[in-house]
Each structure stands twice: as structure tokens, then as C-alpha cells.
């Protein structure tokens, strides 16, 4: 069983910057949905997304936004953990779906400066934080929880040179290619993200970044936000875009085994919940299979209803919101969920207002990506 203290957290998304601001906004049911800000809207059928509003001029995109959001989140988490601005020698593991491909797009079409070293995040992390042990993993929408699994493995190592501290981060911003292709596969262009609702129309992307600082042991000098109990990763090797309920269920069972928890121990599930036609059903079917008679016990919520799908960042945003929910006994609602699909009928979704005054100890976090790459984590609160 893993038990690694989480001693620093940082986040930025369309709904807010900073963990406290983001969490409070989500608990109020505030959505980051807005008209497309960085693209020529005449090229798309879908017209909305969940972007961080940081461009100097609306409608004109600028390069380097993914790196900037990442550095913001890592800086917040490092400061929260008391690490300061020099991260030399501390492993920084970054999960992302789309790297700096938006900057590549702007270079290709508009001629903005770009080099191959700008595709990954090592250069930006080195310049800002003197970080030299940096890793960029492009693992689609499960990327930041995959990075969390690798961080956990590093902290499990023994012997000289094994790290005491690892920073895990996730980041993504909209690319025109992915935004366009995601709407292309839906008969009706998606209008908003409505996870698990019978009348949902698909997924819309969001910008976001999140970071956490994990420690090998609790040295007593820092406030511990929560504890990582375990992460499982697998590949269902089934289909490039269609998820496999069996593969997802196997990842959930493995996570429970690693974390030493039973379905009855789980108080909260932070769902992947993309609002995509196939994905929500697969996630719900897997959860019902794994939780069995306890399927109606934990509270469940899907914050992509307010952040949009932040791709590689979404798993870690789920973790940070989940940890705060355990700390405060408060759970953000799933906005726009009015009529759940049959597969999710038994679940105790938080809808309407945030759930408050709850005694919550253990949260499950889900993240699933293209290619059937699944990651499931368990965290414990320190309330």
C-alpha cells in the first residue's frame, strides 16, 4: 500500500486560478464555458470552449500558452510546499495530451517562432525553475495520472539517489486540430459538456494545468493536504477511440488492491465524465461492475461540466479538487446533469448545489485516454 503525503498543490483552469479559487468556483457551480477565444470561429461548427482568458487580444492566439499555464501551476505547488523557485535535482513529471502542439500550429500557419525543443516542457521548466530532471509524457487524457503513477514508483525506490520529493503536473490547452476533429466525429456540434446526461452531445475542450508535490515521508514540517494511497495504470488494447468497460474495471480493481481499499471504503468518486457518447457509459458500467452493491454509496461528481475537458491535466485537476473535497467535506456539483443515462442510474451524483457537511475520507479519481490507456488513483483525506 502506498501512502505518500501531498504537501503542495497548484492549479489553473477556465474557472479560476489557484486551488482555493478554483475549488470555490466549482462548488458554486461556476462554469468556464465561453465563446471560442483563440480561433477563427468561422472554421468550426462548435462555437464554445472552456479557455483560460489570458490572451492579450480576443480572437488572436499566442504561442507558449501550455508552458505558461504549466509553469504557473508548478510554481504554485512548489511555493505551497515551501520548495521555493529552485527545483534543480527534483524530478518534475508532466502529463499532457497535446504538448506544445498549439505553438507548432501557430508556427506552421502563421510563422511565429518555434523550434523542436519547444515541443516538450523541459526547456521552460529549466529556464524558470532550474529543473533538470524533467519528463514530458504524452498520454492523452490519462496523462497526469500516469505521471502520478511513475512518481509513486520513484518514491518507492530505495537506496542512494532515490528521490524524497517528486513534482507531478498536467497541462493542456486547445489545439485547432484536436478541437476540430473532436467536433467532427459528432453528428451535432457539441454545445456544452454535460457528463452522464441522456441529452449530452459530446465533449468540448478546456485549458488547464495542475501540479502537486509528493513526498516520500511526512517530515512534520509541512501541512499535508492528503495522502496518495495508490495508482493503477493499464491499456485495454481494445480500440483507438472506443473505451473498454472491462479494461477500465481492471484498472479500478488494481487501484483498489494497490491502495488497500474495498468498494465500501470509497466516499467520493471524481469521475472522468467527458460527456462523450461512448465514454460515460463505459465508465459507468465499469464502476457498477467494480463497486457492486456499494455502487450507490459514494458521492460522485464530474467537474468537466465546468472546466471542460482539460485532457492531460484533467486527472490531476480531479485529484486536487478531490483532496480539497475530503479536507472540507464539500463536493462540487455536476452542472447540466438532469437526466442520467441508464448505466449511471444508481449513482449518488451531486447535482444542483454543492454537497456540504460531509464526512469524507477516501476519494477515487478516474482518467481514461485514447488508445484505451486507463489510470485510476486513490487518495485519503487528512481532515
Amino acid at each position: 500500500m502506498t501512502n505518500r503525503p501531498i504537501v503542495g498543490m497548484g492549479a489553473v483552469a477556465a474557472t479560476g486560478r489557484g486551488v482555493g479559487e478554483l475549488f470555490d468556483a466549482l462548488c458554486r457551480g461556476t462554469s468556464g464555458r465561453a465563446g471560442l477565444r483563440g480561433f477563427d470561429r468561422s472554421r468550426f461548427r462548435a462555437q464554445h470552449a472552456y479557455e483560460v482568458d489570458d490572451r492579450p487580444v480576443t480572437g488572436r492566439d499566442i504561442p507558449g500558452r501550455a508552458t505558461r499555464l504549466l509553469l504557473d501551476a508548478v510554481g504554485q505547488a512548489a511555493a505551497d510546499a515551501g520548495l521555493g523557485e529552485d527545483l534543480g535535482g527534483i524530478p518534475v513529471l508532466v502529463g499532457t495530451g497535446l504538448r506544445e502542439l498549439r505553438s507548432l500550429e501557430l508556427w506552421w500557419r502563421d510563422g511565429s517562432p518555434f523550434a523542436d525543443s519547444g515541443l516538450h516542457f523541459g526547456t521552460g521548466l529549466r529556464e524558470r525553475f532550474n529543473a533538470d530532471v524533467t519528463h514530458t509524457f504524452s498520454n492523452a487524457c490519462s496523462a497526469s495520472l500516469y505521471a502520478l503513477a511513475l512518481a509513486s514508483d520513484l518514491l518507492d525506490q530505495e537506496g542512494e539517489g532515490a528521490p524524497d520529493t517528486v513534482i507531478v503536473a498536467g497541462v493542456d490547452v486547445l489545439t485547432e486540430s484536436m478541437y476540430g476533429l473532436l467536433e467532427r466525429v459528432h453528428p451535432e456540434p457539441p454545445d456544452r459538456v454535460r457528463p452522464f446526461d441522456r441529452n449530452r452531445t459530446g465533449v468540448l475542450m478546456g485549458d488547464g494545468a495542475a501540479a502537486v508535490v509528493l513526498r516520500r515521508t511526512d517530515d512534520g514540517s509541512r501541512r499535508v493536504h492528503g495522502r496518495l494511497r495508490g495508482v493503477a495504470v493499464n491499456c485495454d488494447a481494445y480500440h483507438v477511440t472506443a473505451p473498454s468497460p472491462d479494461g477500465i474495471a481492471q484498472a479500478m480493481r488494481a487501484a483498489h488492491r494497490i491502495a488497500g481499499v474495498k468498494p465500501a471504503d470509497i466516499d467520493l468518486v471524481m469521475l472522468h465524465g467527458t460527456g462523450t457518447l461512448l465514454n460515460d457509459e463505459a465508465e459507468a458500467a465499469a464502476l457498477r461492475d467494480v463497486l457492486g452493491e456499494d455502487a450507490s454509496a459514494p458521492l460522485m461528481t464530474a467537474v468537466k461540466s465546468m472546466t471542460g475537458h482539460t485532457s492531460g491535466a484533467s486527472g490531476l485537476i480531479n485529484l486536487i479538487i478531490g483532496v480539497r473535497a475530503l479536507q472540507e467535506g464539500r463536493v462540487p456539483p455536476t452542472v447540466g446533469l438532469d437526466d442520467p443515462v441508464d448505466e449511471a442510474a444508481p449513482f449518488r451524483f451531486v447535482t444542483g448545489e454543492a454537497a456540504t457537511g460531509r464526512e469524507l475520507n477516501v476519494a477515487q479519481l478516474n482518467a481514461f485516454g485514447f488508445g484505451g490507456i486507463n489510470a485510476v488513483a486513490l487518495v485519503e483525506g487528512t481532515r
Partner: protein, 303 residues
């Protein structure tokens, strides 16, 4: 919990190379000759399933099949070990750039309606790793490393880390870079290797249990800000093949296997990145008979 007598070594039990001018680890180690023909994936894995796949994914299929066969893991009826025991770590920096710019060009010039839905999974950079897993039924952890110049050695490191953590008994490690118009523009007119290498990394205990041939033993890996030390006899990709980028580290390990296969016994140090990049990485490779990777004098010195 730690057993002082446990064999924790991670070994190379299979390797494959596909580059213009080299299709074996021995040919790679000797230095591929100029003028080699481009790799044709269909010649290695047939045409079925290649349509709608980008060049990097097609090359990845061919390399995956060759390395799994070399390790005795892929037979006529598929994998010879349970699907969950084998994962994939792939390394590529330029994979899927062609898909991204093609979709972008179509959107800008015609609108999104003219794009192909078949491009959707290929617009996600992990398509190389996940496609290989789907084609060959590998259900262990599946990781795509896009980490710049050190990426290939980093991929080897993460496979070894996950083996040590017990996430899978073995990993297919794939390093591949395609050559195309967007890559050449990004590289200022230079070409990329348009090929790569694949390895099977395995816990030595797992390799021994299935009577696999050990081809090399992994020594310590190090990643830091300083420039890697290149040593005499260090293997390097011939300049005529272009930039190996994310494939480079995997190619170096494959070349080391080629040298060990040919009888060379001294350790080989693979290095990537350095002062011109955000960091450097180094990895020591030891001959198959190295008893315990962490206990050799060379390994201690390199660490």
C-alpha cells in the same frame, strides 16, 4: 520486504532495428551504409491495418513485431505470454506532427467539415504506443515519452522503473522518428531518421523463467543538467541518416546489443542531450554475463 539476495536486474531480451541501410542490430553497430532504401512497413507486417495510420505508427508496428519475435514473445498465434505481463514505452518527438498540420491546413482552408474523422486518434501524440498495444494485444502499462533529445534513454529508464515497481514483467521499448515535410521544416531542412529501434526489456527473473536469451544488462541511468561524457568507441548515428531525436537513445541501446552479440564485452555508455539541450542523460549497458548490474565497478563509477 527487500530480499538482499533477490536478482533485481533488468535485461534486454530482444532488439530490432529498421533504418535505411540497417535492419539488424549488427548492421546498426557496424554503421549503416549510405544510400539505403526507405523502410517499407508493409514488407514487414503486411498491408492490413496500415491504412489511416501515420508513418511513425506504421514504423512502430514493424519494429514492435520484429523485437517481440526476436525475444521469442510473438508467435504465429500472437503473444506467447499473458497480455497483462507486457507493457509498452514509446519515444518520439516528431510522431503525429504530420497529422496535426494536415488537419490544421484542412480546417483553415476549407472548414472543419472537410477533415477526416479517421485523423482523430492520430491527433493525440500517444497514438504510436497505443496502436502497437492494440495491434499486438499488450495490456500492461502504456506510456508515450515525448521528452526531447533524451527521450529514448528516458523511455528505457521508465520501462526499467515500472518493471522494478512490479507494474509488468516486461516492456517493449520503441524509439521511432518519421521523416516528412513538417519535420524537415522544423529541423531547418535536415532530415529525420525515418525509422528507429525497439527493445524488449525484462526482469532477469522473468527472462530466465521463460529461458530467453539475455543480450545486455541495464546499468545505472542518470539525468542531469551537465553535459554527458562521450567515451572512446562511443556509438553515434551516421550523419547521413539525419536527426534521430527521440529514437536516438533506443538506437544506442540496440547498437550496444549488436556489439555484445558480436563478442564485445566492455560496458557501453549511451548518452543523449547535453549542454545544447535542457539536460543530458546517460545509461550504462553491460554485457549479458554481468552478474548484478549495480555491483560492477563500471556501474559504480558511472553512477
Amino acid at each position: 520486504m527487500t530480499d538482499a539476495t533477490a536478482d533485481t536486474a533488468v535485461v534486454v531480451s530482444g532488439a530490432a532495428v529498421l533504418l535505411p541501410g540497417a535492419d539488424t542490430v549488427r548492421a546498426l553497430a557496424d554503421g549503416p551504409a549510405p544510400g539505403g532504401a526507405p523502410v517499407e512497413p508493409a514488407d514487414h507486417v503486411g498491408r492490413k491495418g496500415l491504412r489511416y495510420k501515420d508513418r511513425a505508427t506504421q514504423l512502430g508496428y514493424a519494429l514492435t513485431a520484429a523485437a517481440l519475435r526476436d525475444a521469442g514473445l510473438l508467435g504465429e498465434d500472437g503473444m506467447t505470454v499473458p497480455a497483462e505481463t507486457t507493457g509498452i514505452v514509446a519515444s518520439s518527438n516528431f510522431g503525429n506532427l504530420d497529422t496535426v498540420v494536415r488537419a490544421l491546413d484542412t480546417i483553415r482552408e476549407e472548414t472543419v467539415t472537410a477533415t477526416s474523422p479517421m485523423d482523430l486518434p492520430n491527433a493525440s501524440s500517444n497514438v504510436i504506443a497505443s496502436s502497437a498495444a492494440i495491434r499486438y494485444g499488450l495490456r500492461g502499462p502504456n506510456l508515450m515519452v515525448c521528452n526531447g533529445e533524451t527521450s529514448g534513454l528516458d523511455a528505457v529508464h521508465w520501462a526499467a522503473t515500472m518493471i522494478a515497481a512490479g507494474r509488468a514483467e516486461r516492456f517493449l521499448v520503441l524509439g521511432v522518428e518519421p521523416d516528412n515535410a513538417v519535420v524537415r521544416r522544423l529541423l531547418g531542412g535536415r532530415r529525420a531518421v525515418d525509422g528507429g529501434a525497439a527493445l524488449v526489456l525484462e526482469a532477469r527473473t522473468a527472462a530466465t523463467a521463460r529461458s530467453a536469451t539475455v543480450r545486455a544488462v541495464l546499468g545505472p541511468y542518470r539525468r542531469a543538467a551537465d553535459e554527458p561524457r562521450e567515451t572512446a568507441g562511443h556509438w553515434a548515428l551516421p550523419a547521413h541518416l539525419g536527426s534521430a531525436s527521440g529514437a536516438y537513445g533506443v538506437l544506442q541501446v540496440a547498437a550496444a546489443v549488436g556489439w555484445f552479440d558480436a563478442g564485445r564485452r566492455e560496458p557501453v555508455r549511451a548518452v543523449a542531450g547535453g549542454a545544447d539541450h535542457d539536460a543530458g542523460a546517460g545509461l550504462l549497458l553491460l554485457a549479458p554475463e554481468a552478474a548484478r548490474a549495480a555491483e560492477t565497478p563500471e556501474a559504480a563509477e558511472a553512477a
